[in-house]
Symmetry: C2
Subunit: 199 residues, 2 copies
């Protein structure tokens, strides 16, 4: 057998395997709950990548940002100019900058009330709850409160929750949990966070 034949035979086997796996999979008929967590980068950015995919298929998308406040980000500027996303930045900024727990709690709860109404409305195919896990980590929101909201969502609505330290109860309920791990981090190596990459 030549190398070329060998390659072809291997690829045919791989194709069969892939087809069998696809054939065995079913459409759940409802929007999935995805969690992006871990210490590494890419948690929010991959959620915005999924937003792009959803918009590419002409789906309706909403975003609620739980932490980022007045900080200007590339994603916010892009979607403000582009339109097509129902965008709500409702945080008051990093918790170490506000230094006011009551204000942080009030902001997180206002953001979640908005998110819950959006999830129940049936108006969205995809909703991103950006950095909500940070609000959970500081007990600005309870895991039960968020689970209740997720369970009350419309069947058509998929939800992505981002931020490190996602609570176990949320991960247990989610359909997919992806952990981003830092193998090499430029910030730790003394390189400044860059516009258009990190925010």
């Amino acid at each position: 057998m030549t190398d070329t034949d060998d390659h072809k035979a291997k690829m045919q086997k791989l194709q069969e395997k892939h087809r069998a796996r696809v054939a065995g999979a079913s459409d759940p008929g409802r929007g999935l709950v995805l969690v992006h967590t871990g210490e590494g980068k890419g948690k929010s950015s991959s959620a915005f990548g999924v937003v792009i995919r959803a918009l590419g298929w002409k789906k309706t998308v909403g975003v609620v940002q739980f932490i980022k406040g007045s900080w200007i980000t590339g994603e916010r500027q892009f979607f403000q100019r582009h339109g097509g996303v129902d965008w709500h930045t409702m945080g008051e900024g990093f918790t170490w900058d506000t230094q006011d727990r009551d204000r942080d709690i009030a902001a997180a709860n206002a953001a979640f009330d908005k998110a819950r109404a959006m999830m129940e409305s049936g108006d969205y195919d995809l909703i991103v709850l950006d950095e909500i896990n940070i609000a959970l980590r500081y007990d600005y929101l309870s895991a039960d409160q968020v689970l209740d909201g997720l369970k009350a969502r419309s069947d058509r609505t998929g939800v992505i929750l981002t931020g490190r330290d996602a609570p176990d109860a949320i991960c247990a309920y989610a359909d997919l949990v992806t952990e981003m791990t830092e193998v090499k981090h430029p910030f730790k190596a003394g390189i400044k966070a860059q516009r258009g990459v990190d925010f």
Copy 2:
């Protein structure tokens, strides 16, 4: 000390720590090389999230896709409609579908020639080499060839390489390597890949 004072004191400490870290970081004055690898999801989607950030800051962006061929994806549809990204889908499809090693090698090399010219041109702030690690994994491209191209890039150009099994030599050269790990995967649990989420 009340709970509120305690929170404020903790957050002040955190703020000092954060400021010291930012003050100690420097701008490298060149575009970074980022690798998104691992078995989990989010490798390509977080690259497209970074594309959005870069566009939000009015930076110039190019994308070369090494594997995806005629397969219609949400990201491609989005950027075709939106414009603003120099987009090249140069793969011939999944290697188990083409089943022709010579054709795959030719396609990968044509894609890399294009990518190299773009990296050297000085016309881009960010270039995404989508799924290039797959082409490396199957030896359609060599790690040396890709390293040469990365080293020849313009100082202004940051590059993101996506795909599982990134070679060690590329990771050693990169400024940042993020590994996406599957904690829970709906496809394995028997849920079909979904439009607007998975592609």
